[in-house]
């Protein structure tokens, strides 16, 4: 089920009504669990079975890990969880990709081999809930937390519908304690939750789908010769803003829906396009994935404790796998590699020029911020392009100043992209050092109402169809 659908409006009203009329906390949680399965099944019913498999395996593995003392047996148990979770992820997400590359490798070696296309459908959100359940088992394996005592709570943790299909990726240590006490939002918390939902939907429906997707699709869908430099840049900027509005929009809705139910979910974005440096960018972009990769991949690989060379290798490996997490395509690997290189470069530059006074001046910080934004935008080319041919066409057009190339964007779309991108960057710089909550607190009530009404009326005027969120495919 999509947040930006009428079905969800009805579903949400029904869940809220039940949540606030039923007194028993156990019953409330059971309703939330069933509702979460309905939410997921509404997209593709058979895939609920995958959720059940993941839930059952990690529940029993965690129980066994708790009572098992022998390291060898504990490793076996962990392997079971990794095998099942990553096996399902690997089959559904990377099956076709692996087969294609296997065939390509054989053909390269001169071995003629053809296989039928398996046509595997990717279960929505599998990357998200796989990482979420894995974090639970890994925490217990590393003895950082204890297994959950209630199966209902654990199943709800795996399945909680607001963040099930596109995050934020929540840790068990953050979610499970919330299941111990009845959750009820007070009036203000509920109202603030509704504001979050409106903001998230506005980002998705009006900005991402309405104002930006057309320009981005036009530029990245072009295959007939080079693109005029202005159009190429606007297309890349449009996608940069679109991917933020789409994904942050989902996270914002998820947080809002959870708030209305009395639950707290973590922030997933914090003004990433005002980041100063790539390390800073990854502290602000998809924060729950960044911390997951840090805690369960980068640090176990050795982090920054084994010397500079190993640190840089670890960074690169983490970003490559982070890229592959986003999709089964070499373009995502290239995107990860590019960000890995950025981080390696930044790490080295920081060591040499970290103490330079200019870097700390306002102008220096702003310049570095803009440079970071441009580097991130260039990375998005590989993320968005369907293949390397398309990526190289766009990339080449970005730096082709001959004045040639197709002019693909109507003036109206050029204006839309410029306004939205400038607005977005301004908002990110305004919120660079502060949270949205603090900013909203300082605005007068009439201004809040004016913004809220504009967003809501904008949503009504846009009449957006229920377009899927980009991150659903991951």
């Amino acid at each position: 089920m999509l947040f930006n659908s009428l079905t969800f409006v009805l579903f949400f009203l029904a869940i809220i009504s039940l949540h606030y009329t039923i007194r028993s906390w156990q019953t409330q949680k059971t309703i939330l669990l069933v509702a979460s399965y309905v939410f997921y099944a509404a997209l593709n019913p058979p895939f609920v079975i995958l959720l059940w498999i993941s839930t059952l395996v990690d529940w029993y593995v965690a129980k066994a890990l708790e009572s098992e003392e022998k390291d060898s047996q504990r490793r076996v148990l962990l392997s079971v969880s990794l095998f099942v979770n990553l096996g399902l992820l690997g089959f559904f997400k990377y099956g076709e990709f692996l087969l294609e590359n296997f065939i390509a490798a054989l053909n390269l070696l001169g071995i003629e081999f053809q296989a039928a296309t398996p046509n595997i459908i990717l279960p929505v959100g599998i990357s998200f809930y796989t990482f979420q359940t894995l974090s639970y088992t890994l925490d217990i394996y590393f003895r950082k937390s204890k297994p959950c005592k209630s199966f209902l709570d654990f199943a709800l943790y795996v399945t909680f519908f607001p963040q099930l299909v596109a995050g934020p990726i929540v840790r068990a240590t953050d979610f499970l304690p919330q299941c111990e006490e009845p959750r009820r939002a007070n009036k203000d918390q509920f109202g603030w939750g509704l504001y979050f939902i409106t903001l998230g939907l506005f980002q998705k429906v009006v900005l991402a789908d309405g104002m930006l997707s057309s320009a981005s699709d036009t530029i990245f869908g072009h295959s007939d010769g080079s693109i005029f430099v202005l159009d190429a840049w606007l297309g890349v900027l449009a996608f940069s803003a679109q991917i933020f509005c789409d994904f942050a929009g989902y996270s914002t809705c998820a947080i809002g829906v959870a708030l209305c139910l009395g639950f707290a979910l973590p922030d997933n974005f914090r003004s990433p396009y005002a980041a100063i440096g790539l390390s800073d960018f990854w502290r602000r972009w998809h924060m729950t994935l960044s911390t997951w990769l840090r805690d369960y991949l980068y640090i176990p690989l050795g982090g920054n404790r084994r010397g500079i060379f190993r640190t840089l290798i670890n960074l690169m490996v983490t970003m490559l796998l982070g890229g592959l997490w986003h999709g089964a395509s070499w373009t995502f690997v290239a995107w990860g590699a590019l960000h890995g290189s950025y981080l390696v470069g930044e790490h080295l530059l920081r060591q040499k020029f970290g103490d330079c006074g200019w870097v700390k001046t306002t102008l220096g910080r702003f310049s570095l911020g803009m440079l970071t934004f441009i580097l991130v935008c260039l990375g998005w080319v590989f993320f968005r392009a369907k293949d390397f041919t398309s990526a190289s066409l766009v990339m080449g057009s970005l730096f082709s100043f001959s004045g040639d190339g197709a002019q693909l964007l109507p003036t109206l779309e050029i204006i839309q992209v410029i306004i939205v991108v400038i607005g977005l960057l301004s908002a990110h710089w305004y919120l660079h050092e502060k949270r949205l909550e603090h900013a909203m607190q300082n605005f007068p009530a009439w201004f809040v109402v004016a913004i809220w009404t504009s967003m809501l009326f904008g949503l009504i005027l846009m009449q957006g169809g229920a377009n899927a969120f980009i991150y659903f495919q991951f």
Partner: protein, 366 residues
């Protein structure tokens, strides 16, 4: 990914609620939005808009799914002329079966025909509306539209089905819910901001000028049928849409002719294959050429002459074909904007088609 673990703080879970009376603000926002929405609704109605269903992929899928329940249904495929000009009530009354309307605007019906041909159980009658410029279009929007509709249907989720029913409830009540004309994007387009001289875009699509019901019975709006200013505007839109695009690669007239011949043959071959598949299962296919008039008809004659396209479809597939110019009773209709019949005329045209259909049925061709 931060390059240093020491300076990287884990996300904070605590959620801060800004100091405002959020429940009060929510209520005021709701009231203001309701006021703006109803004002907008009244304004749209004052412009002549009335509540109508949107011709969405959901609506199309809701019709396509019925073939799974009854694979012997009569199915209508084609482009907007089939959607506007064919009256399903008349057909049902005369032929005894309610057809399924699967035609979509600006569409090459080839993918729909192929879908029916590949359906393991389909054995009904397919009435194919032919607009040669679209029927022989090798790609672009005329091909994308049917492929998108079919893909949407294949992936049609329970959530989308539910959303479709809820959406119809609102569309029947509010005139402003009109995806052809009254979305924010359409309103911005109406600003008509001039484009760069060198920029090349797809031609403008005609404005909202038809309605559909829940069975996708289409029809021209009474405004479009009467408003000559709107008709002229739509006529000017048809001209670039029906003009073949310039060649991407320069070629001589003979090379171009060879290329067109090659593509035409490919389409004909594929069409014949699909027709054969349907007839092999006991189904029937009939091609219909609906009226067009004015300069548009002249352009069609110039770019897609009957002898090279329509006649070859009939000759290749051996399926029956009804061309409006072959029957006195089907000729002489006036298309207000050159391409489609008014609602009243569509009923009359379909009534006049029925004796021909009945004759085909007697001959076991339908």
């Amino acid at each position: 990914m931060p390059s240093s673990t020491s300076s990287f703080n884990t996300y904070e879970l605590k959620r801060i609620i800004p100091r405002h009376h959020w429940s009060v603000l929510a209520l005021i926002t709701l009231l203001l939005t309701a006021f703006l929405t109803f004002s907008w609704e009244f304004y749209c109605r004052s412009l002549g808009y009335a509540p109508t269903l949107n011709d969405t992929k959901d609506l199309w899928a809701s019709r396509r799914i019925l073939i799974e329940e009854d694979p012997s249904r009569t199915v209508l495929i084609g482009a907007s002329r089939m959607l506007f000009d064919f009256d399903m009530d008349v057909y049902e009354k005369e032929m005894g079966q309610r057809p399924l309307q699967l035609a979509t605007v600006g569409t090459n019906p080839g993918p729909y025909l192929e879908d029916l041909a590949n359906h393991p159980k389909f054995s009904g009658v397919v009435i194919v509306g032919v607009v040669p410029g679209l029927f022989f279009a090798p790609g672009g929007p005329p091909m994308k539209s049917p492929l998108d509709h079919l893909k949407y249907f294949q992936d049609w989720s329970p959530s989308q089905k539910m959303g479709h029913h809820l959406g119809m409830l609102l569309e029947r009540r509010f005139a402003f819910i009109n995806q052809e004309d009254l979305t924010l994007n359409q309103l911005l387009l109406s600003l008509k901001i001039p484009n760069r001289k060198k920029a090349k875009f797809h031609p403008e699509l005609p404005p909202y000028f038809y309605t559909v019901d829940k069975e996708r019975q289409g029809g021209m709006t009474s405004i479009a049928a009467k408003d000559t200013k709107l008709q002229k505007r739509i006529q000017q839109i048809w001209i670039p849409l029906f003009t073949p695009p310039p060649d991407k690669v320069k070629m001589s007239p003979s090379e171009k002719k060879t290329q067109i011949e090659k593509m035409t043959n490919m389409v004909l071959e594929k069409t014949k294959k699909n027709v054969d598949k349907i007839t092999a299962r006991g189904g029937k296919v009939v091609f219909v050429r609906f009226p067009s008039t004015g300069k548009l008809r002249e352009m069609e004659n110039k770019y897609t002459p009957r002898v090279d396209f329509w006649d070859r479809i009939i000759a290749t597939t051996k399926a029956p074909g009804i061309h409006f110019e072959d029957y006195v009773q089907l000729s002489g209709f006036d298309c207000p904007e050159w391409s489609h019949l008014s609602k009243e005329d569509s009923t009359e045209f379909t009534s006049r088609l029925m004796p021909i259909f009945k004759k085909l049925r007697q001959e076991d061709k339908l």
